[in-house]
Symmetry: C2
Subunit: 198 residues, 2 copies
C-alpha cells in the first residue's frame, strides 16, 4: 500500500517542518501560511494531511515527543539501573544552554491546550508517559535500597516532574543565571530533597 505509506511519511515530514518553523518563528509567527510557504506547497495541500493548525500542532508535538523519549531511553541506558537512571532522566530533561530549545513547540501546544481539549490531552499524554518513565526508575531505586520507600510513589513522581519543569523553564529563559553547573546542582538537590536520597 504505497499510497498509505506515503501519506504517513508525508505527515511526518510536515511535522518535522512545523517544529522547525515554530523554533524559528515562535508560536505566534508559525502560521499555517508560513509553514506551507516554508515547505514549498499551498495551504490547500496541508489540508490533505491535517484538519487545522491545532491538529498539525498536536501531530508535530507527538512526533517531537517520540523523538525525545527515544533519546531519553538512549541517554539513561548508559547509567546504572535505579537511582543512576533516575538522575540521568532528570538531567536529560533540563537541556544544555546551547541545545536547540523546543520551548516554542511547547508554547504552541499550551496556547492551543487552553482552548482545545484535544491539545490538552496531548499535553496530558506526554506527562503520563514521563511519569511512567520516572516511576520505573524510582521503583527500581527503592527495590535496590538506594532511596527510602516513599509514602506514596505517585506523589514523589509528581514532585520530581514538577521540580524539573520549573528548573527547565528557568534554564530556558534565564540561561546565564542558571549555567550548567548550577543547573546540575539544583537537579541533584531537588532529587535528594524530594526522594530523600542521603
Amino acid at each position: 500500500m504505497p499510497k498509505i505509506v506515503d501519506h504517513a511519511r508525508r505527515r511526518e515530514e510536515i511535522a518535522a517542518l512545523t517544529v522547525r518553523v515554530i523554533r524559528k518563528e515562535g508560536s505566534g509567527g508559525a502560521t499555517v501560511r508560513r509553514i506551507a510557504t516554508e515547505g514549498g506547497f499551498s495551504i490547500g495541500v496541508l489540508g490533505h494531511y491535517f484538519r487545522d493548525k491545532d491538529d498539525l500542532v498536536a501531530f508535530a508535538f507527538r512526533w517531537m515527543a517520540d523523538q525525545t523519549f527515544k533519546e531519553l531511553d538512549a541517554a539513561v541506558a548508559h547509567a546504572e539501573p535505579g537511582l543512576g537512571r533516575l538522575r540521568a532522566a532528570l538531567e536529560f530533561m533540563v537541556p544544555a544552554p546551547r541545545a536547540p530549545t523546543f520551548m516554542g513547540v511547547w508554547v504552541s501546544l499550551w496556547d492551543g491546550a487552553l482552548k482545545n481539549p484535544a491539545l490538552a490531552k496531548v499535553h496530558g499524554d506526554y506527562y503520563a508517559r514521563w511519569r511512567r518513565h520516572l516511576r520505573r526508575h524510582l521503583s527500581e531505586a527503592v527495590r535496590r535500597g538506594e532511596v527510602p520507600r516513599p509514602r506514596a510513589l505517585g506523589d514523589t513522581v509528581e514532585l520530581l516532574s514538577a521540580g524539573i519543569d520549573g528548573i527547565w523553564i528557568a534554564s530556558t529563559f534565564e540561561p546565564t543565571r542558571l549555567p550548567p553547573r548550577r543547573r546540575r546542582a539544583l537537579v541533584a538537590q531537588m532529587l535528594a530533597a524530594v526522594a530523600g536520597v542521603r
Copy 2:
C-alpha cells in the same frame, strides 16, 4: 499635566484590555488587530501608546504582575510571619481550578521571550521579585526556628519556585487529575521536602 496622566491611564486601560483578549483568544488569537477591534479603536491609535505587539505584551504582563503581587501581599498578610506566610505564598501561586487562568498571558510572554531579550527581561524581573518574596518569608521562618537553616538560602528559594511552577502548570492543564486537595497536599509535601520542614 492632565495630558501625561491621561496617557498613563490609557496605557493601563489598554493593558487590562490586552489581558482580557489574550485570556479569551489565546496568545495566537490576540493579534494587535483583534485587541484594537475589542477596544473600539484603530490600530493606528495603539501605535500612540505602544511600539509593537511585544511592547504591548511586556506592558500588559507587568501590569498583571503588579496586580498579582498586590493580591499576594494581601493573601499572606492573614498568615503568621515566617513559615505560615511562606506556605500561604506558595499556595497562592497555584490557583484554584475555577479561578481565571492567566496562563495565556504567560504563554504570550514566553512566545515573545524566546526571540526578544526585552521580553526575556520581563520574565526575569518577575521571577526575581517572586524569589525576593519567598526569601523574605524563608529567612523569617529560619530566624524563628521553624525550618532548619539551609546550606544555601538561594538554592532553597530556587527549588521552591521551580516546584511551584511545575505544580502550577500541571494544575492548569490537568485540573481534574490535580483537584484542589491533592494540589494543596503536593505544595505542602514540596515545601516539607525542599525546606526540610518536619
